[in-house]
């Protein structure tokens, strides 16, 4: 018999179902070769198609950070190259990964949840299973793998564009000449920062795709259910990005 649990335990029930789905996904990784076409397709959808919006957001956040840092450090005793030394690490450590993460929680997370949610409510997932196909291996694994591979790529794009944006705006507003900005950035550059940023983006890629797949896969209740799953996927992903960000920063730095 099914036991009806009190509602207060709902979060634990969700966590349990999420863990079970992940376990099933990990077991399905063995079949990865069968779904290589899907992975490639998802890498294009999740990764390549996200480049324009990620670049745009990165360009502006890099530019704004530079202008605001310049504004905060107005003093004849501070060399302007410090601006580069402040902007570049903040982009690499935090902005590059987190801004990209938030953006993709909306763009990628919502899309995955809506897609899988619609497939669930129109019985397409049941149809896959009824045919004898592993729906988790076919639908979820390629999306998560594509996310984990492509998020670091998008992170690199974001960092490059954001720093370029910072240099450009700093230079043309006259706040900091490009040469000084770069000299400052190089002087204080620590390679581990970039590694840390890459790790973050990889984790965010996993968090967003896994949560969104989970929300979409277990959608219930027609169009309204799909709407709810989509919203929950984006919001929950954002919350867990913040949490993961804090955990990573406090353990790895």
């Amino acid at each position: 018999m099914t036991v009806t649990l009190p509602r207060i335990l709902d979060p634990f029930v969700s966590l349990g179902r999420f863990a079970l789905l992940l376990a099933r996904a990990f077991r399905s990784v063995a079949e990865l070769g069968r779904y290589s076409k899907n992975i490639f397709e998802q890498m294009v959808r999740i990764g390549i198609e996200s480049i324009p919006i990620v670049a745009l957001a990165a360009l502006f956040s890099g530019a704004v950070t530079t202008v605001q840092t310049a504004h905060q450090l107005v003093s004849p005793f501070i060399p302007v190259s410090i601006i580069g030394a402040v902007v570049v690490p903040s982009v690499i450590l935090e902005l590059g990964a987190v801004v990209t993460g938030f953006l993709l929680a909306g763009r990628v997370g919502a899309r995955i949840a809506a897609e899988l949610g619609t497939m669930r409510v129109t019985e397409q997932i049941d149809a896959l299973e009824a045919m004898g196909l592993n729906s988790v291996g076919y639908l979820i694994v390629p999306r998560v793998v594509a996310g984990v591979i492509m998020f670091p790529v998008l992170y690199i794009v974001a960092c490059v564009v954001a720093i370029a944006g910072g240099i450009f705006v700093g230079h043309y507003t006259g706040e900091v000449p490009a040469g000084e900005f770069i000299a400052g950035a190089r002087e204080f550059f620590r390679p581990f920062d970039a590694v840390f940023g890459l790790i973050k983006s990889l984790v965010f890629g996993f968090v967003i795709t896994a949560i969104s797949c989970y929300k979409g896969y277990y959608t219930r209740g027609g169009a309204e259910g799909v709407g709810r799953a989509t919203t929950e996927a984006a919001v929950t992903s954002c919350v867990y990005i913040l949490l993961a960000d804090l955990i990573l920063a406090s353990t790895l730095l």
């Binding site: 018999m1 099914t2 129109t122 019985e123 397409q124 049941d126 149809a127 299973e129 009824a130 004898g132």
Partner: protein, 264 residues
């Protein structure tokens, strides 16, 4: 042969199936009838392991399908073709690719052979030219027929139909009913038709199982159905009496195709 034994199933504390025992015999077409929400589809989904019973068991060819490892269950499911209520075509693919999908996933056939098989399946559902069309471009009836073509692509031994005629106009419903009937003979399959459409039942089924209050209330052949004295079943059938009445208590099949069909 599919055997359901004392199946219980509840959702979120609400019992839907309360002890269902039912046999689907080799080669027959069994109609599972009952009111909307009576658990007909739920029962059908148990037969392919899409749902697991809270208690009781399901035997397919003597094997308890809920004791199988997942990959064994997957293998077993390839003996089944399922026509879902809304068709459940993959809307990311056109009709041809939908029908080809199971073949590409499971058979080692060449693309040329697959093409031949797909066209043959689309022919069987009398839609030879819809290959390039995407599901949203097709009418509801056509979607169901393409879905039926996909269901038979792997030449299953069992075909499950979930409300095959719901939401369709009477004429299209007749076409689907005739297809169910002819496929059963042509492909020599065992079919389960979940429906509340008595016209469909009388056209397609050899036997009928009536679900009521979560139990298998009545099981019997079509002639038995006409003789049946159970009030609950009679009331259910009466709701469709237009068809039954005009079809005659004799269950005279050729008659029924000209009987006006009640649309819901």
């Amino acid at each position: 042969m599919i055997q359901l034994r004392d199946i219980y199933k509840s959702f979120g504390g609400t019992p839907v199936i309360k002890g269902a025992t039912l046999d689907v015999k080799e080669g027959e077409t069994l109609a599972v009838i009952g009111r909307s929400g009576s658990g007909k589809s739920v029962l059908m989904k148990h037969m392919i392991g899409l749902l697991k019973p809270d208690s009781g068991y399901v035997l397919v060819d003597g094997v308890d399908i809920n004791k199988l490892a997942y990959h064994e269950l997957q293998k077993l499911r390839r003996n089944f073709g399922v026509l879902f209520q809304g068709g459940a075509l993959f809307d990311s693919m056109n009709s041809f690719d939908n029908v080809a999908f199971p073949l590409r996933s499971f058979s080692k056939k060449s693309e040329a052979d697959i093409k031949r098989d797909v066209l043959e399946c689309l022919d069987m559902v009398e839609l030879p030219d819809v290959g390039p069309k995407f599901p949203p471009e097709l009418s509801g009836g056509m979607q169901k027929r393409v879905a039926l073509a996909r269901a038979i692509a792997m030449r299953p031994r069992y075909i499950m139909y979930d409300e095959p005629t719901s939401g369709l106009d009477p004429e299209t419903s007749n076409v689907i009913d005739q297809m169910i009937k002819s496929l059963a003979v042509r492909l020599n399959v065992t079919s389960v038709v979940v429906t509340h459409d008595m016209h469909s039942v009388l056209t397609t089924a050899d036997r009928v199982a009536f679900i009521n209050e979560g139990r298998i209330w009545w099981v019997g052949s079509i002639p038995d159905l006409h003789e049946c004295a159970d009030d609950t079943l009679i009331n259910f059938v009466r709701a469709n009496e237009y068809q039954i009445g005009a079809g005659g208590a004799s269950g005279n099949r050729p008659h029924q195709s000209v009987v006006p069909r009640q649309t819901n």
